[in-house]
């Protein structure tokens, strides 16, 4: 078999992949040994593959890994809260118990428990009209200026109540004080309902 330059160019990618049959490979090898043009195409193609295949060619924005880790940690906690089927109804039930006044949320936080999910904390005492910000793609809402806001260029301002209704969850960093206050004070039933439907909304979002 003899191949010309055009045939070589057409097959050069397959040749480099090791995807040409023995006959064609031999013919191309012969061609490369005599045709400097095609040899140059071959060398260049290999060089391209070698360079771009190098890990160093992948550049990620500063802090990418840290932000991914944080978001996954939030996801992991919320999964803990909703993983088993019973937790879906247990969250509102526990919340009702909380309203009834017996249970102190702080106590239940000391033991590992699925309800520890930050996303499902019924004890929130966030003022409903407080101004908060959310950012595109992230699931939590923040006090404006919080330093863990992801994607700062795309933020939107709304009230805490609206944010909760839209399915956002309080940032564990900047909303911490509200989440902790909640352990010692009763919460409004409205927020509890919203927070538990919030969990369902997240489930829906996840199963999309």
């Amino acid at each position: 078999m003899v191949v010309n330059c055009q045939q070589v160019w057409k097959e050069i990618s397959n040749y480099v992949e090791g995807e040409v049959d023995a006959g064609l490979r031999a013919a191309m090898d012969t061609h490369f040994s005599t045709c400097t043009r095609c040899k140059s195409v071959l060398d260049g193609t290999r060089n391209v593959i070698q360079l771009y295949g190098d890990e160093r060619m992948i550049e990620v924005p500063t802090g990418f890994g840290r932000r991914l880790e944080r978001r996954l940690a939030q996801g992991a906690r919320s999964r803990k809260g909703t993983w088993s089927t019973w937790s879906a109804w247990l969250v509102p039930v526990a919340a009702l118990a909380l309203i009834a006044g017996g249970l102190r949320w702080a106590d239940s936080l000391t033991v590992p428990h699925p309800l520890q999910s930050e996303h499902a904390q019924p004890g929130s005492n966030i003022p409903p009209d407080m101004v908060v910000v959310v950012s595109a793609g992230a699931k939590d809402f923040h006090v404006p200026g919080c330093d863990v806001i992801h994607n700062k260029e795309k933020i939107r301002t709304l009230t805490a109540k609206e944010a909760i209704r839209e399915g956002y969850v309080p940032c564990v960093r900047c909303m911490r004080k509200y989440l902790q206050i909640a352990s010692t004070s009763p919460v409004s039933s409205e927020l509890v309902t919203e927070l538990s439907s919030n969990v369902e909304a997240e489930d829906r979002a996840r199963s999309r």
């Binding site: 055009q6 360079l51 771009y52």
Partner: protein
């Protein structure tokens, strides 16, 4: 050639720690998931970026894709490569976002134009190799990234998934929802175009001031 095939065939041998982590996460230890994906986070990001071409969109898509991977970890089967599975989820997420964006922007779609016409290499001078060590230099990486960014989307995507993300041809086809034949045609063209761009780069002095420039080749 032999060494290239070795690298591509199974870069993840000896992944017992990985298998262990997968099993733990599947049993519910979701907090270990980041440790599991960390070795691939750069590739996941690059896959999203190839499709979305915007850093913050790519980052967000990558994060969302990893959350989806976590949510679906029990569907992962040990026969598959974990990295490939992650990248496929990421590509899906990114394509979905782009489609959504498209519908909103009613941007021109060049998908259906097929790859008719063959690409003829332009530069036949003796190939001046750019050694891997040159990648230590930011300006070299940047020029290579610019060359890649100048390719049409359909060529760029295939090239990134195959040659940068190391998916195989079949996996690339599946991830992008195109035929194996299209992957091959586009890949050929992408590689040849990049080769010409890099050859032109020498002429335009992209690689000047570098230690491996003409006459001072250290390799």
């Amino acid at each position: 050639m032999a060494e290239l095939n070795v690298v591509l065939s199974n870069p993840e041998q000896g992944t017992t720690r990985e298998q262990e982590l997968i099993a733990q996460v599947q049993r519910g230890q979701a907090e270990l998931f980041y440790e599991l994906v960390r070795p691939y986070e750069r590739r996941v990001y690059a896959a999203a970026l190839a499709i979305l071409r915007n850093e913050s969109d790519a980052e967000d898509a990558a994060q969302e894709a990893m959350l989806k991977a976590l949510a679906n970890i029990r569907q992962f089967r040990a026969e598959a490569r974990f990295s490939t599975w992650l990248i496929q989820i990421t590509v899906n997420e990114a394509l979905m976002r782009r489609r959504r964006e498209r519908t909103r922007m009613t941007e021109a779609i060049d998908d259906h134009r097929d790859d008719e016409g063959e690409y003829t290499p332009r530069d036949f001078a003796d190939w001046r190799e750019i050694p891997s060590e040159a990648l230590e230099r930011k300006e070299v990486r940047q020029k290579l990234a610019e060359a890649l960014a100048s390719l049409d989307r359909k060529y760029r995507e295939v090239f990134v998934l195959r040659d940068m993300e190391q998916l195989n041809i079949q996996e690339t086809a599946e991830a992008l929802g195109i035929s194996v034949a299209s992957v091959k045609t586009r890949l050929l063209r992408a590689r040849l175009m990049l080769r010409d761009l890099l050859a032109g780069g020498w002429e335009q002095g992209w690689f000047s001031r570098l230690p491996f420039e003409k006459g001072t080749k250290p390799w």
